[in-house]
């Protein structure tokens, strides 16, 4: 039971953390770094509540032992939320009533963030595919799909305006 020091980037800050054997990225984020936007759901990989972005790809933080993340680039919801405000995706979630109990929001926002970074103009089928591994028991999913489509459209028009 020897702990180990693991160095990794969390929301663009390099952290050196003492980790006990088998501590998952989820436990590291919530319990050691107090980054509690990432939710502990099933711890089985099914529900998607713990989804974060590692090296550009959305993954389940509950299934990754921290020891395997040396030098990884981890992005959580805290890292994509603007200081004192909401991102376009978060605003669209509010406007489209895509938030009810809120438990799935963090995971949904992380898969949506990764999707829009890779594909700024997704079809609704592509959005559904992206969120297919994230469980929401409140909304019935359609408001979430609409929110992601709306946010994508707003982000595209903001890009166009910035370019002009």
């Amino acid at each position: 039971m020897t702990s180990r020091i693991v160095g990794l980037h969390v929301n663009q800050t390099f952290q050196e953390l003492i980790v006990r054997p088998g501590v998952t990225l989820l436990q590291l984020l919530r319990d050691q770094l107090s980054l509690t936007a990432t939710k502990r759901g099933c711890e089985d990989g099914w529900c998607g509540a713990c989804t974060v972005i590692v090296d550009g790809k959305p993954v389940r933080s509950c299934l990754i032992p921290a020891e395997t993340l040396e030098n990884a680039d981890v992005r959580t919801l805290e890292g994509v939320t603007p200081e004192g405000g909401l991102s376009a995706l978060q605003e669209a979630m509010v406007e489209n009533f895509a938030t009810q109990c809120g438990f799935c929001n963090s995971g949904m926002l992380m898969v949506a963030t990764a999707l829009l970074a890779e594909n700024p103009s997704p079809t609704s089928e592509e959005v559904i595919r992206a969120i297919s591994g994230n469980v929401c028991r409140c909304t019935g999913y359609h408001p979430i799909v609409r929110a992601i489509m709306d946010a994508a459209a707003k982000m595209r028009s903001a890009e166009t305006m910035a370019a002009e």
Binding site: G22, P65, E67
Partner: protein, 269 residues
């Protein structure tokens, strides 16, 4: 209680880590192993990660594809050279799981998971396994039957790429996305002069491990690939299977719908 997670950077160190542990398992994507660790049902003492051994990557030479053990399902599915198998990858779990789960790990995922393993059986894939005493190869069917020895590490899976007119795949699911198989069917079938010349049909979720539909294959040879002969051949599938009941489907239901999905896989109707 987990006492150690080792992350060796070369095969020798990985063999050492496996040899020195009291009870160890090889960790690749973690999608099968980690739920047991999280819920403390796993009695493993040591996990040995093989993600830093340089075992990922895809090589295609002519028709032969060689895929590194820790290539993720996402990398496999995103490679245009392997696009003929794209439907198999898309049918497995969800994008975040496919970003983690590995090609070699899929060989050891218990049914009804492991759809890529079913495809590999149809493709007669060859598995390369490294150990301290050297490397050996084995047909994928042998891995399903006997697993690998403690201290052995799968390094690659190689197979001949089918063409889109010889490759067939269908998976019955509870939902259109992110469901394990009710049944899955993967096949390489060649037709010449209107008659089936060769057939290799693999079935998933109808036995404890992926199985060949040998009776169906035999009944198809020399016949046209049409509704009548495929339906007649598919009706024999019960001889090759031993379905089980789980949260996705009952054994009865699996047996009942299997011929339908063999037909859908082979002739789309």
């Amino acid at each position: 209680m987990l006492g150690s997670v080792q992350v060796p950077s070369n095969l020798e160190a990985a063999f050492d880590a496996l040899a020195n542990a009291r009870s160890s398992a090889i960790l690749a994507g973690g999608t099968v192993l980690m739920p047991g660790v999280n819920t403390k049902v796993s009695s493993l003492d040591t996990l040995v990660s093989i993600r830093r051994l340089g075992l990922s990557g895809i090589q295609v030479e002519g028709h032969r594809a060689t895929v590194g053990a820790t290539t993720t399902l996402d990398e496999f599915g995103g490679d245009p050279r392997l696009s003929v198998l794209g439907d198999v990858i898309e049918s497995i779990a969800s994008p975040p799981i496919r970003n983690m789960a590995t090609v070699a790990g899929n060989l050891f995922a218990a049914q009804p998971n492991g759809d890529l393993a079913v495809a590999f059986l149809a493709l007669d894939a060859e598995v390369t396994i490294a150990s301290r005493t050297g490397a050996r190869t084995a047909p994928v069917a042998e891995i399903f039957a006997r697993g690998v020895e403690h201290g052995e590490i799968v390094t690659t899976v190689a197979f001949d790429l089918p063409t889109s007119d010889t490759w067939f795949y269908a998976k019955a699911m509870r939902r259109k996305m992110n469901s394990a198989a009710v049944v899955s069917v993967a096949a390489v079938v060649t037709v010449a002069d209107g008659l089936v010349r060769t057939a290799r049909i693999a079935l998933g979720a109808v036995a404890p491990r992926p199985v060949r539909a040998l009776s169906v294959e035999a009944a198809l040879i020399g016949r046209p690939l049409d509704v009548a002969s495929v339906s007649a051949a598919a009706a024999l599938a019960a001889r090759d299977t031993d379905p089980f009941t789980d949260a996705y489907a009952s054994a009865w239901y699996r047996a009942r719908v299997l011929p339908v999905h063999i037909r859908r896989a082979l002739i789309g109707a």
